[in-house]
């Protein structure tokens, strides 16, 4: 019987990096306070002891600069992992990710490739204010040439990170900063998880809840509450927003005929809109009601705790939406 331990999501990310760095000497990680400090979230603690400061490279506070360098290093034979401490700093690296990394392969007629991973965090309620709390993953989904990964469990985080590092394209990997201590079962032996394969986190028959990243636990919590009221909810995590496993989402929608999509990014032009549209196109004649979307409130994330909490979708909101759908 294969051994499975309980480890945290942070430990799972760390394990994936360690294993890939042992496996492939071209892999290195760079970013701010990642070496001795092990990142502000302490996810990479101890890596520098094993791999040294050249492969766990502390950088100046120059997100655009070291992301651009990662693009060049990736093109010339390395496999960099860039650590962007807060996803909010995506604004600073956008030219390097959107105009450089994402386009190099296409613009060169397929002759150069950019095998790199940009790690970043998302998620509010850490009382960090408007510039350290956003969930901006949808921005990257809009850009051809990028892949976008949002793990929601330790198991998924490890398997998807290993796949991201081995992928020959630029991959943007968002981790929910509030889930780093979430524990879950992770096999001791090696495994990877393919991109573009959604995971049914809970099977159900009455309503489908499609949830990403930080919202998967919210959806599972809502499903439990609904169960107490006799409503059977299916929870599906796409795990990668691009490539997107539309087939699994549509099949579930056809089965339950009612769908809620919940994501911590902004709803307006956000991930929920794309997913809802894909489901509507694929399962229109099987739906009993329009797909319901739940995202962050369309306001800058406020600091004051009751205000901040009000901006993030919660279990009650999902339960209410499900009950409304079921009439």
């Amino acid at each position: 019987m294969p051994e499975t331990r309980e480890i945290t999501l942070g430990e799972a990310v760390r394990e994936a990096l360690v294993e890939e760095m042992r496996r492939d000497s071209r892999v290195f990680i760079c970013g701010e306070d990642i070496a001795e400090a092990g990142t502000v979230f302490k996810v990479l603690g101890g890596l520098v002891d094993e791999f040294g400061p050249e492969r766990v490279l502390d950088t100046p506070i120059s997100e655009a600069g070291f992301t651009g360098m990662a693009v060049g290093a990736a093109m010339t034979g390395m496999r960099p992992v860039v650590d962007i401490m807060f996803g909010d700093f995506s604004t600073l690296v956008m030219d390097q990710m959107v105009n450089q990394a994402a386009k190099v392969h296409y613009m060169s007629g397929g002759r150069w490739k950019v095998p790199m991973v940009m790690r970043a965090t998302l998620g509010a309620t850490r009382r960090s204010g408007a510039q350290h709390s956003q969930s901006l993953h949808a921005w990257f989904c809009h850009v051809p040439g990028l892949k976008v990964v949002l793990p929601a469990t330790p198991y998924d985080a490890k398997g998807l990170m290993k796949t991201a590092i081995r992928d020959d394209n630029p991959v943007v990997f968002f981790e929910d900063k509030m889930m780093y201590r979430l524990k879950g079962p992770v096999p001791a032996e090696e495994y990877t998880i393919p991109f573009g394969v959604a995971d049914v986190k809970r099977e159900g028959t009455d309503v489908t809840i499609v949830a990403t990243s930080s919202m998967v636990q919210v959806a599972l919590g809502a499903a439990k509450l609904l169960e107490a009221d006799g409503i059977s909810a299916e929870v599906i995590d796409p795990r990668t927003l691009w490539p997107l496993d539309e087939k699994t989402l549509v099949e579930s929608a056809k089965k339950t005929s009612r769908v809620i999509v919940v994501d911590e990014g902004y709803g307006r032009y956000g991930a929920t809109a794309e997913i809802a549209s894909a489901i509507t196109e694929g399962a229109f004649f099987d739906l009993e009601a329009p797909v319901k979307r739940i995202g962050a409130m369309h306001v800058p994330i406020p600091f004051s705790p009751p205000l901040e909490d009000a901006t993030v979708p919660n279990e009650q909101a999902v339960v209410a939406a499900a009950k409304a759908l079921l009439g």
């Binding site: 290195f28 050249e54 950088t59 100046p60 120059s62 655009a64 600069g65 070291f66 992301t67 651009g68 360098m69 990662a70 693009v71 060049g72 290093a73 990736a74 093109m75 010339t76 034979g77 390395m78 960099p80 030219d95 390097q96 105009n99 450089q100 190099v104 392969h105 296409y106 613009m107 060169s108 007629g109 397929g110 002759r111 150069w112 490739k113 950019v114 095998p115 051809p144 040439g145 892949k147 020959d168 394209n169």
Partner: protein, 332 residues
């Protein structure tokens, strides 16, 4: 007392060959660009192009100092860099015309020519946008101990971009083998850099403890001499370098920029064209040194002109990519 000597008899043959090679390369870029302008004016080329005419000595002088496996990154005004690094005329023209036979299968165009075979990491249409890529290539060279150097070409306009200073800082901290080459052609698009550049360019690099120097960018021998020394030093592990080549864009910002008097005078342009043409300067010097004669230079011109004509005919006749190619190469 100085004794006049016949250089033809005393200069090593290899040295003469090198000067003639650089002359030929500059001429190739010039005639290529003149042909591009012609294609544009005859409405045979889609889009625009930014011509390198007048600046040939920079690309040729620097690239002549490089190994074929060294890296370059280029700019929107990049045809000269690509050709100087060894690109073929026919595939260059084909790319400019959006043809399948182009370096990027027609998907890149004038501002995005890239070619792994010649170490060309790509021209870049974001001003200063390739500074990170070049510096990252230097990081790879250092980590993998390949002995390669990376040259980042950019114009004086890029001196206004923050990315450049972020990567200069890291390149200096980590002693990366990267050479930042600023082609100071005095204008960023349609604006004199008198209006956009504060202080002194070399001092900016000095602030990062990067050794900088400036050179007459119209004199290919001076550019080459400076680049050779810098490349040797950088390859040996001395860390990054900064080279400012003072040059001039003989034509407009792009092929459609014809009426330019609102930002620079015709007299100024005329002065550069007649007094500071890099090809004429080298030709005159070679003649004065008795290293070659007019007939040989004229023969070179005839050869290059014929190569350019054959290449453009190839590109004009080449097929466009089929519509089925449009969604290929998005992902590796």
């Amino acid at each position: 007392m100085a004794i006049a000597v016949d250089r033809l008899q005393t200069a090593p043959e290899a040295e003469i060959d090198q000067w003639l090679r650089m002359y030929r390369r500059m001429l190739m870029i010039r005639l290529f660009e003149e042909q591009v302008n012609d294609l544009y004016t005859r409405a045979l080329m889609p889009g625009l192009a930014h011509l390198y005419i007048g600046e040939e000595a920079v690309a040729v002088g620097v690239c002549e100092a490089l190994r074929s496996d060294d890296y370059i990154t280029s700019t929107h005004r990049g045809h000269g860099h690509c050709l100087a690094k060894g690109a073929r005329l026919d595939r260059m023209f084909a790319e400019l015309l959006g043809k399948e036979a182009g370096y990027c299968k027609g998907k890149g165009g004038s501002m995005h020519i890239a070619d792994p075979d010649t170490g060309n990491l790509g021209a870049n249409a974001i001003v200063g946008g390739s500074a990170g890529i070049a510096t990252g290539a230097a990081l790879t060279a250092k980590r993998m101990k390949t002995g390669r150097v990376a040259v980042c070409f950019f114009g004086d306009g890029a001196m206004g971009q923050g990315l450049l200073y972020e990567v200069m800082n890291m390149a200096s901290l980590w002693k990366l083998p990267v050479i930042y080459v600023c082609e100071n052609n005095l204008y960023g698009e349609y604006t004199s850099n008198v209006e956009t550049l504060a202080g002194d360019m070399l001092t900016r690099a000095a602030g990062f403890a990067i050794r900088g120097e400036s050179v007459d960018g119209q004199d290919v021998r001076k550019v080459h001499a400076a680049a050779t020394q810098i490349v040797e030093r950088v390859r040996a592990g001395a860390g990054p370098a900064f080279l400012v080549c003072n040059t001039y864009r003989f034509m407009g910002h792009h092929v459609g920029d014809v009426n330019r008097e609102y930002y620079r005078s015709k007299q100024e342009e005329q002065l550069w064209k007649t007094e500071r043409d890099p090809i004429k300067l080298l030709g005159d010097w070679l003649g004065a040194q008795n290293l070659t004669d007019r007939a040989r230079l004229e023969q070179l011109r005839i050869e290059v002109k014929s190569e350019v004509e054959q290449a453009v005919q190839f590109a004009l006749a080449a097929p466009y990519p089929g519509p089925d190619k449009v969604d290929q190469d998005v992902y590796a």
